[in-house]
Amino acid sequence: MSTKILTQHFNEPKLHELATYRKLGGYKGLEKALKMKPAEIAAEVAKSNLRGLGGAGFPVGGKWSTMPPADKAPERYVVANYDESEPGCFKDRVLGERAPHQIIEGLLIAAHAVSAEWAFIFIRGEYGIPFKILEKAIAEADEAGLTGKVRVRLMRGAGAYICGLDTALLETMEGKKAWPRQPPPFPTVVGLMGQPTVVNNVETLAMLPHIIVNGGDWFAKLGVLPNPEKKLPGSGGTAVYSVSGDVEKPGVYEFAMGAPLRAIIDAAGGVRGGRKVKAVIPGGASTPPLSASELDTPMDFDSLRSVGSFLGAGGVIVLDETRDMSEVAHNIERFLAHESCGQCTPCREGSEWTTRILGRMLEGKGTSGDLPNLQRIGENITGKVICALGDTVGMVTRGFMKKFPDDFKSKVPA
């Protein structure tokens, strides 16, 4: 039941080379796109119901459409967000290592769709191997004349999860530390160097060639169709999941939108050592956990929202019955405290405070006030900060406390 778009040729050992990629139909999407008008491409993408696969799930067609017209703002940019840094997420790494041209092709289509002459790939600095592969692939594409008038440039980050947030990424590209901006204006209006800029995740971009070749309708139908009655936008196509934690075969697995969580875990060989699932983080460490009773939840943006979590970037982390959720929460909060950019007070102070309270509880020094306090601190952070990382800081511990209260109660005096 696994539906493959991006990973369909992953068993091809030389997929990262241009010749192989082209032999398998690569760059047909770009070829077709170049014959289309930018507006036609955007319309096809809007029809596909492709949503941003980097975490936010924003409709891609909708994002593009907020750009001012090219004749009014001729200087414009496309940025591929390859700053994958969230615990549990590694699918972008694999997509770049295995099929770099798929990303480049998508990026070139996006550049054409928004009439940009510069296209960037901002890749996290620790991805040395994908960087080298992409660098080579870009050179190949350049040499083959595929990039055309679009100049494609790579840029490496230097170790900050927050750069995965579009406005923080743009700040960093401008030579500043990664402090998120506070839209509006959104990057499509005021982005890189003050110019209209589209920032899309690399997996999202990699979908574009397939949408152009096969049509938006095909893509939309593969996934979850919109439900106008419930005002649910649906999500087209597939998603590539990074599955890790307590599973037999960690790795990337591609499924159509709406596939049940259980199927994804099964694809990864099920829970390691034949143990039972205790919890699953569905979308990466920043997304609230699901319990063992929620394994039939369809994996798509709307369904996960309805159970109080997020599809995020599809980083599925399986936690077996031996795991203590207060330790898990502590690990994630420590990560967030380390990655908090420090710009706004609630996130900066709240992430550190939460981490220290959890750490103290795990040292056996919990107090009776700690649980209500953690709850209260979380509530006081989420919704009162500049960016989504801060919102997460306030959600993670509350999410685990809600579903696994015993793991927390056992750390404080009764």
């Binding site: 420090g342 706004c344 007070t345 609630p346 102070e349 992430s351 107090t367 306090n373 900060v385």
Partner: protein, 509 residues
């Protein structure tokens, strides 16, 4: 914005009007509602990082920061609703998690944003069980400013000031997350000519004035509106004085000088020269009316007026008014200049004046505030004709005239001639039969005079200065005069009256 439209919105249940496009936090302030905030400063922008100014806006899914929200027609805003208050309180609580709470030894106590808001919207019981994070303390940021990184709440006002206002970039926000700290860029010193302003804009005790540290508690201070006499900009200031508890502040009456917001003159700032140049107000002051020669003796004002008036009158009659030269400076107030003119031009008919700022009253000028003329009121003199129809003579020609015996008397107002003539001064003055010095402070010139008259410092009188651009500003009396000191205008007036009296007597005789 020209012709801005007015919008109506509801604030805390009250119908309020504001120009369209105004920030909610400003519109609320206009309507008398102060929304707590740290990072926002009207002159330094609205980074929205402190998250304290959160308000509830009807229809918004979450609380909004009022420093980044614009007023709109029909908006319904609550800054005092339970949700808004709770959001503000929680932001305050998070600001205090790692704050050292060392208020008893902090100079900001009494005017601290953390203290004030704790009393206003806080008043919760601390839930912090963890140890505080430690960062740098007692860092000498520059000649005037001390930095305490533990007290800092990272609002970034100071870094924005050095980036955007002075463009000197001495301070940065380094590190990341909770390990973040404000610090000097390695190798730099916070020594720009406006460094003291960072102390004013710091809402907490992270940046404090070196001179003011541990001197006097702020709640013992009186504040008086004043005008800086440091240059022809004439920045609006507030003079903070400590008189009730003279054992504090090392016995000095003036504890500090702060800028007073005046969009027409200085905006929010003053320079360090103006801010810290108040030593002369409490040091080396003249308080007694003195005849220094011949026969050194303290005089009453009446005696002094009589002696000086008769000396001036008799010498003028005998040797002509042309031999009397009057030296003044732009330190005089408009009131002083008026009395100055009555005495020297109208009554005595003096022809030779020296009042130009060069060379001793000139200094650095920049594009921000500082002006080249280091006196506040040359314009006020111009209004009386000094510098327009009455020219200022040069120091060189004056020295030559003295050498040539053309001058019999010199009346020096608030100016130290040794700064112009150096070691020649004593020799030149010794050739004169009558030298009168009038001013607030001891000077070498004063010591060489026949008569030395104590004038009040500007903080001991009230008056007006007209700045370089023609703006007239009032300064108020902050302190009582020291000793027998009188305002300059009162001294001129007293002499003029006695001279008029002498003439009347002459006429009768």
């Amino acid at each position: 914005m020209s012709e801005s439209k007015t919008v109506k919105f509801k604030l805390n249940g009250r119908e309020v009007e504001a120009p369209e496009g105004r920030l909610l936090i400003d519109a609320a302030k206009d309507a008398g509602v102060e929304i707590p905030h740290y990072c926002y400063h009207p002159a330094l922008g609205n980074p929205g990082n402190c998250r304290l100014c959160v308000v509830e806006v009807q229809g918004a899914p979450k609380p909004l920061v009022s420093c980044r929200t614009f007023v709109k027609e029909g908006m319904v805003v609550a800054s005092d609703s339970p949700a808004a208050m709770r959001a503000q309180q929680s932001s305050l609580e998070l600001h205090l998690v790692n704050h050292p709470l060392d208020c008893p030894v902090c100079d900001q106590s009494g005017e601290c944003g953390l203290q004030d808001y704790y009393m206003e919207i806080g008043r919760y019981e601390s839930q912090v069980r963890e140890d505080k994070l430690h960062k740098g303390k007692r860092i000498e940021a520059g000649p005037h400013v001390m930095l305490d990184q533990e007290r800092c709440i990272l609002c970034t006002r100071c870094t924005r000031f050095v980036d955007e206002v002075t463009k000197t970039h001495e301070l940065g926000i380094f590190g990341r997350g909770h390990g973040q700290y404000i610090d000097l860029v390695p190798g730099k010193t916070l020594d720009n000519p406006y460094s003291g302003n960072v102390v004013d804009i710091c809402p907490v005790g992270a940046l404090t004035e070196k001179d003011f540290r541990y001197k006097v508690r702020v709640w013992y201070l009186d504040e008086t509106d004043s005008v800086c006499p440091g240059c022809s900009r004439g920045c609006s200031t507030s003079v903070h004085t400590n008189t009730e508890r003279p054992w504090h502040n090392d016995g000095r009456r003036v504890a500090r000088i702060k800028p007073r917001h005046n969009p027409e003159v200085n905006g929010w700032w003053i320079c360090d020269d103006g801010r810290f140049g108040y030593d002369s107000l409490d040091h080396d002051r003249l308080g007694r009316v003195m005849r220094l020669k011949d026969q050194r003796r303290e005089l009453s004002w009446t005696e002094a007026f009589e002696e000086i008036a008769s000396a001036l009158a008799s010498r003028s009659a005998g040797k002509g008014a042309g031999g009397l030269v009057v030296i003044a400076s732009g330190m005089l107030s408009n009131e002083d200049w008026a009395a100055f003119k009555v005495l020297f031009v109208d009554t005595l008919g003096v022809k030779h004046f020296v009042f130009g700022p060069e060379p001793d009253q000139l200094g650095e000028e920049d594009e921000l505030l500082r002006k080249r003329e280091k006196v506040p009121n040359l314009k006020g003199g111009q209004a009386q004709g000094f510098g327009t129809e009455i020219p200022s003579a040069s120091w060189d020609s004056l020295a030559k005239d003295i050498e040539a015996g053309k001058v019999w008397g010199l009346y020096v107002v608030e100016r130290d001639l040794t700064k112009v003539w150096g070691q020649r001064t004593a020799d030149l003055l010794s050739k004169l039969g009558l030298v009168i010095f009038q001013g607030p402070n001891k000077t070498a010139t004063g010591d060489l005079a026949h008569y030395r008259l104590p004038a009040t410092a500007y903080v001991e009188e009230e008056g007006h200065f007209t700045n370089f651009g023609g703006t007239v500003q009032a300064y108020k009396k902050a302190l009582e005069p020291l000793g027998s000191a009188k305002p300059d205008w009162a001294i001129f007036h007293g002499l003029a009256e006695h001279l008029a009296g002498d003439r009347r007597e002459e006429a009768v005789a």
